[in-house]
Each structure stands twice: as C-alpha cells, then as structure tokens.
Point group: C2
Chain length 167, copies 2
Amino acid sequence: MKLGDGVEQAIHCVAILAALPKDGLLPAAALAEFHGVSTSYLLKHLQTLSRAELVQSVPGPTGGYRLARAPEDITLLDIVLAVEGPEPAFRCKEIRQRGPNPLPGYMFKAPCQINRVMLRAEKAYREELRQVTIADLAAQVRTDDTEGLIEARGCAFFDAAMRHYAP
Amino acid sequence: MKLGDGVEQAIHCVAILAALPKDGLLPAAALAEFHGVSTSYLLKHLQTLSRAELVQSVPGPTGGYRLARAPEDITLLDIVLAVEGPEPAFRCKEIRQRGPNPLPGYMFKAPCQINRVMLRAEKAYREELRQVTIADLAAQVRTDDTEGLIEARGCAFFDAAMRHYAP
C-alpha cells in the first residue's frame, strides 16, 4: 500500500496557499519551485484539487491558485481523497464466491467478514485525517516557528512570486 | 491508495488453512482452485506468508501449506504487512527541505507536521487490523453459517484436496 508523492505535494501546496493574503494568487511554477518538485506533475495535482473545489484556479497570464474554501474547512482527508480518489484501498473481489461447489447466492447478501474488517480499519484511518484541518496544521507550524524563520521564508516567497486576484 | 489483490487472497488462504485438522496440508494449486485465482500469483503470496512465518511450506510431491502459528496468534495486520510490506503508505519525501532559501538544518529535527498526522492515521488503521485475529474471523463465519453450508463446502474441499503432514 503506497500513497503517491502527489499527496505530500498537494498538502504542502494547500498549506502555503492558506498563508496567502486574501487577494493573493500563486502560479503553479512558483509553487513547484518553492517545493522543489516538477511543475508538470504538480500541475496535475493542482487541477485535481481544483476539480475537488479545494483550490480555485484563476486562468490567464497573471493567474494562479488560491484556496476555494477557508483553511478551517479543508481537512487532510479532503486532500487525500481528492488526490488518491474516493475508493477504499481494499477492494473486495468477492473471491469467496468463486471456485468449485459455490454456495447459494443468498449466502452472499451480507458482506464478507474480511471486507468488513478491512473497511473498518480504513474508516479509522479516514477519521484521523478528517479531524485535522489545514488551519490546524498552520496553527501548529506557527507554534513551532519560535524564531519566525518559516514565516520569513514564506514572506520572501510571496514577495517574489505572489500575484493579485482581481475578479 | 490501493492494496494489491494479494491481500484478499492471502487472508482467505490463511482462514481456510486455519480450518484444517492438525495434520492437514493443502497444496497451492488446490488453494488457488478453491478461491478461483491464478496459482502462480497465489504461490508468490504463499511464499511471502511463509517468509513471514505465518504459514509453513512443506516441500515435496505430497507437501503443501499449513499454518505456522495458532489462528489466535495471526492478526489481519500480520497478513497485510507480510503481503504489502512494512513501510507506511505515506512516505514523506521531506519536500519542506527543498526549494530556494532553505531553512537551517536544525529546523528539521522534528518531523514534518504533515508526516506526523499521516502516520497517526496509519497507526489507527493498523490498530484496527491488529485487533482481529484469524480465530476471530473463523468464529464469526461459524456464527453466520447457520445452515452449515460453509462448513460442508470446506469439508468437501478438504476431502478432495487435503494431504497429511508427516514430519
């Protein structure tokens, strides 16, 4: 079981967009440079986040990305499901119904016990991610940033790369 | 995020091996036929389970597989980690350390908040799977098998395919 690298990149991007001033926009190339990742790969994930209505894509030569919702309203689960898709990691193929001498069909009305346990575990996983918002992450980073170095780096980045949203 | 089909197959195989009489063995081909899956693919997973010391592989023309431990001592987590590997699904690439104007190295002593939350979710996932043993699954199946049809199918399978372990 492996999550794609896009998850880490998407969460970091949403977190940095959450720190933008209200009228700020960041182009994909700047977000990619700031995170040291490929622009084309990141662009794919930014588009996914945009389709999931977590970020807003403002088109045009002075366009860029901004959050589509308040940081309090974006959970880590929202981002993980947007990037990885909503399907559970365990996808029961109902192999209990295969093979010789199959049981009668009514025996399979209830889900397979194995599927049930696997989905219960996945529910616990998602529940943890649902409890943490981007605002929570930002608050924790502010607490940890005792010398203001993270904030200063962010400000320098915004000074160099930020555009202004003029709807 | 997707688990391989091997997880479902491995759990079903361990569950059926748990129902064998004490001296019983089942060859890989029989396990594959019973579950309607490819023998070569299943063999790969049976070998993985054997390396993880969850099942014992008895070689030779009258050989086969049996459990290496009591069903009470095999959790679903044991099987999932054996098949999928022990690494977490989220593999932090530390992209926070990339890009221009990097922060000083001592800022990265504590793990990234994002990694921390992702691993906490994975811990909750694993904890659920750790709480369910193959003996628990078997007990649940016995409870659900009100007409004895699952047991009868298993007995017919053992009659046709089971070998005897003679160490």
